[in-house]
Symmetry: C2
């Protein structure tokens, strides 16, 4: 086991930086909680800042603020980013696995029935969250994975498509050709690639969409293309009920993005919802899971990754906290109410060092 542990540490170190991280001992004063102390429902929240937030939440908000259905609202919102090839961490256009194949994960949970649905390693279908919803509604199961999930999607009339955009293929090819000098793949003779300007870090993009309707009913979706260049079949926290998403109609909802393995082994979103049930505000609950993950990893000096949590309670209070952030470039989330769109800056535990920008 120690062998396994040290290899993981090595990998994280190799992907991050050598220097010790400055550690913010406590989360900074939570101005968010104050700002949102006058909470309101209906509300829709997404784990992105204003630009994506507006695009993603608008169709959901249109339903929620009218006579639309709660589940339709979160689905239509999540579909926006799934269908957009410009987002390279969710749905169509997502970064592929190590073999250049895009495999998508998503789940949905619906408070009034406490039911849920999930698909994992789904290929060829642009809107995995819609397939997850059908698993919930049209089967007696919760989770379908791999080939079985694809066949189920076909049975329900989803159109198959090549999910690998040229942009994603070129990034993957660059990674593949520069992976090692012990294989037979060469980079271009002049070393130049298109899209050279973009950062090439292995993102865990993902998106969470959470909503509370006029009646105080709660629902949520998490959808992702998962870790770029992953081993085929790898599934992170996103489609796992309790990890990447949890909804409880008595309490509220929570979702996670970032390094999924850490969220899986701490049951992150369920942890957040249970802390809210115990009396914490959404903000406090999001901060508590970040602390828990850092603790499990042996403290801030051992942590070379980040996770971000968002949460909303039944009253429409929201929270957002991350493990890592940077002053002036805080991780963000956003939400819509009848007052329009507002951006939340996450509180965070560890100041990201300069060179890791």
């Amino acid at each position: 086991m120690s062998k396994s542990l040290s290899r993981r540490s090595f990998l994280k170190k190799a992907a991050g930086v050598g220097a010790a991280f400055p550690f913010v001992e406590r989360f900074p004063e939570v101005f968010i909680r104050k700002r949102t102390s006058v909470s309101s429902i209906p509300i829709i929240l997404c784990s992105r800042g204003e630009e994506w937030g507006k695009k993603v939440m608008t169709p959901g908000w249109d339903l929620l603020s009218g006579t639309g259905d709660l589940l339709d609202a979160v689905e239509k919102s999540a579909n926006v980013v799934e269908l957009d090839p410009e987002d390279m961490s969710v749905g169509y256009g997502g970064r592929p696995n190590e073999e250049g194949v895009v495999q998508l994960d998503a789940c949905v949970m619906y408070g009034p029935t406490h039911n849920c649905g999930s698909v994992m390693a789904l290929e060829n279908i642009k809107t995995p969250c819609s397939v997850a919803r059908l698993v919930m509604e049209r089967t007696d199961h919760i989770q379908l994975v791999g080939e079985g999930a694809l066949r189920f999607a076909r049975a329900h009339g989803f159109t198959e498509a090549n999910l690998l955009t040229e942009e994603a293929r070129l990034r993957w090819l660059k990674w593949k050709e520069n992976l090692s000098d012990k294989d037979d793949w060469f980079p271009p003779a002049d070393g130049k690639y298109e899209h050279e300007e973009e950062d090439e870090e292995r993102t865990n993009g993902t998106i969470n969409v959470l909503a509370v309707d006029k009646n105080g009913d709660v629902a949520g979706i998490t959808t992702t293309s998962g870790l770029a260049w992953k081993i085929p079949g790898r599934v992170g926290d996103s489609p796992i009920i309790g990890a990447g998403l949890y909804v409880d109609n008595e309490v509220g909802a929570a979702g996670a993005t970032g390094r999924g393995e850490e969220v899986i082994r701490t049951c992150g979103s369920f942890y957040v919802v249970e802390r809210m049930r115990g009396g914490m505000s959404p903000q406090e609950a999001c901060e508590s899971i970040c602390k828990r993950i850092v603790d499990i990893n042996g403290g801030p000096v051992k942590v070379k990754f980040t996770d971000k949590f968002v949460a909303v309670n039944k009253n429409g209070e929201v929270g957002c906290a991350a493990i890592m952030g940077k002053k002036g470039k805080e991780p963000k989330a956003s939400f819509m109410t009848e007052d329009g769109i507002k951006v939340i800056k996450a509180t965070y535990l560890i100041e990201k060092p300069e060179e890791d920008d």
Copy 2:
């Protein structure tokens, strides 16, 4: 949503009985806790009674009571039932999916590192828990599913085999031929099948193996062939960290068997471990999740399924509770310590009616 809910209810009703269930308002006096109040470590526990318990736990106990490794102990024990074709709910010989294909799920979690590994819908490999262990030890991921999991197993030298025994094939064929009179499959003209004497209910067998070593370190495995006749790609709670299994080295471990969908949507095993962290005994914690599941389903009259939880804390105290049981035929678990093997009768919430035997 109401449509989905009512179909689920219908299916459960169809599989169960029509009559209202007598409800045991509180769990009966917990004699187990008393019996095991003098707890001892090392200890190994499995979610089966004496016969299977002895077979399964012996190799693990031999390691734990000597100088063997904790993780080897739970793996070797779980391998016993995975490799045994006579068990039709785990590993080789497990009941196949609706197309006659055996797909296995398993996970492992190791307290000292809080690391875990999982495989889902793995075909052709008899020992999925050993593959899950390698996912934990030899990748930076936790979960591999479907074809990707199989290829990973091949890469690590696992031998492929046909997992469908004649016994399991015949049962599947009987189910298939009697599924509907609107398809083109006929039962035999005389209606007779081999193995007619066996019950043909859709079992959720599964096994949990939990252990605490001399140092108080904790580990666990859950392994299963999943629900018989499931939709291809369906995955239950067994390989989900926090659902079918959870281990926390500060607290103990818990595992679940039974209807997996209920355990997924309540994060059952994590719930048990968190209750133990909060001060409950393993027995109380197992009972608390059973109550929670019944509550979420709208109370005992709505519950036509069962789940069983087992737990052990760091001190070697054990617990076992189920949703449904029958006086004189209580669900069982067993454990081994230096005092030999002991059987635990589960406490339960709902008395199983006669006709459901």
